[in-house]
Symmetry: C2
Subunit: 402 residues, 2 copies
Amino acid sequence: MFNIDKFLHKDTLPGSQKWNGFPIFNFIGGHNDEELVPLKDLEKAAKKVILENGKILGKYNYTGPLGYLPLRKFITKKLKKGAKMDCSEEEILIVSGSLQALDLVNETLLRNGDTVIIEEACYGGVFTRLSRLNINIEGIPVEEDGININKLRDKLTSLKNQSIIPRYIYTIPTIQNPTGTVMSLEKRIDLINLSKEFNIPIFEDDCYADLIWGEERPPSIRSLDHSGRVIYCGTFSKSIAPGFRLGYLVADWKILSRILPYKTDAGTGGLEQLVLAEYCETYFFKHLKTLNKQLEIKSKIMCEALDKFFGNSVEYKKPVGGIYIWVSFPKKVDTKILFDKSLEVGVAINPGVEWSIEEENNKKIRLCFANPTKKEIEDGIKSLAEICQKQFGIPLNIANVN
Amino acid sequence: MFNIDKFLHKDTLPGSQKWNGFPIFNFIGGHNDEELVPLKDLEKAAKKVILENGKILGKYNYTGPLGYLPLRKFITKKLKKGAKMDCSEEEILIVSGSLQALDLVNETLLRNGDTVIIEEACYGGVFTRLSRLNINIEGIPVEEDGININKLRDKLTSLKNQSIIPRYIYTIPTIQNPTGTVMSLEKRIDLINLSKEFNIPIFEDDCYADLIWGEERPPSIRSLDHSGRVIYCGTFSKSIAPGFRLGYLVADWKILSRILPYKTDAGTGGLEQLVLAEYCETYFFKHLKTLNKQLEIKSKIMCEALDKFFGNSVEYKKPVGGIYIWVSFPKKVDTKILFDKSLEVGVAINPGVEWSIEEENNKKIRLCFANPTKKEIEDGIKSLAEICQKQFGIPLNIANVN
């Protein structure tokens, strides 16, 4: 028999394990509430668009390599309304999920040994991607009102003194993942000014920005910049459903035209673009309201469960949007061990070590609340508290248990 | 203003030009006949599956990272019937078009400076991909009954003598792209034996195999191998529509588990998988019959146009399947110039130089016949003949013109 293991190069990634289904209490991943996928309206949209316009699926990229034109047109409207951004459909590239946006930007801008600046903590997939590309990651702490501008300035200065040009500053300014913070307008402007001063681009990931309910959504960084240095991405995974692999990259054509040659997949899913374009035109903003109302309720259930079972032994900020809470434990809790132990009883969490390179964040975890039911949240957080108590003596008492 | 061109690394790909629509006479690309996209049945399938099962779109990869289980189950049936292959749904990875299959296999197996063996001529996208990865390409000529086995043996021996291990032999055995040839059963067995002797994997690309009408479809190479060395890929782009970005990789789990970690796109389009699974279960084989009947008619229209306008000044083999004809011109015709000149009047062709590294193939072109209408085929081939005559004096006379 052929032995692939002996045949492969030494640096090939380790093999996958067989998939055993989702954990019972699934507090990880960007899954949404399945009950909130707008099936009836999606079906209506699908019917109309397949019968009236479906034959265009017979061609690759019917309305050009940037993606389905009616969807791009809707996105310009959506960005105007939500992100306060003016852009033309020629500045939008439809991608197969915002992860493809990350990959395309990285392929265009980064080479082995390059340096990038990110917020810290930050979306876990960013670390795995940048590590694979052998990129030097410089993390800047995130405060209540967004990235620490002074530390960013210090870092940029120090890099400049070493003749290192960071290839971009990556930021999730609105509902930062995982901290849930929203960057203030002032800091957005400061960030643009700094990036001008050091002449580097900003990569603005606005994937969760549609899911804001607790405060007013600030203008996107790209809408505030007039120097053409902001590359922006967004997604429909969070606002409609992650099963739709649809996101978008927005940049001035001078930048987009350099990114586009790296999209060699012969286009993003045509049926999904057709259906979503049709759906969004009529239903998007109405659906977003419903969705955010429900997500706010779910977030409260999660907060109440944390308060009930952990008392004041953990700290977190009440979400103003999004689908996750960034929870901080006392120092003695090693969340990597907590992750291992809780997974044994079917509770899945993101330990800080996967979302950060700063030791400081090892005592934190990310908990996602959109997908599990009320009962799953309550039972799962209770289980987590029990395991944490057994392992680390924290919390000291568990409400309604001890 | 920010100047991206100055900021980029020197080896960044050149920028894209703005898209100006499809050429009038479009004889390139894997587009299908738009009139043959089965809209009504797709709509019925979409309705049923969205209403009954659509909520699973709320999760990423609902039935696991290999893709939607009912679709994988259908593919096992389809492969049994068409490719004569036994495989389990655990040996199938749904991918976002077969180009992603190429990328995943390349990422897993290839590193800078590696060598691979391909058929020559071969699908153009293979050359661009391998060149970007800095791979040494060794081409083996294709005969009427498939790859030249003796030349393959010589090449493998010569590489072995240089201590070079080719990372795979890439073949499109059924309706080879662009030659349209079908590899004989005997050669399939010879190819497996050779790859065993030299202990290398085979990468079997069966993307066009469903579109065979002129002769019996031979068993796939993977169905004839018992050593677990064949990585197989297929697609629904050709049998249903290229707008569906759905293909599949088939390999023993030992191989597939090493490929899977490179699929970091959070899953292939969920809606497209749902709809296609539902559609295929009822309609796939019936649709394939209709499609192939129409494609055969289209291929005859193209052959008649070639005969009419080029007479015996060009040579080609009548297609027994697929969507393209590989046409050979007299030596004095430089098809790269023909390509440039014909594009000026809206006739798009694939010049041999894009599909081959052998100078021998410079005098050939690939013509796709599935997408253009009867009239477009006739008018376009007439235009092509006129340009070719003007430029190279070939053909000497054009029927009904001179």
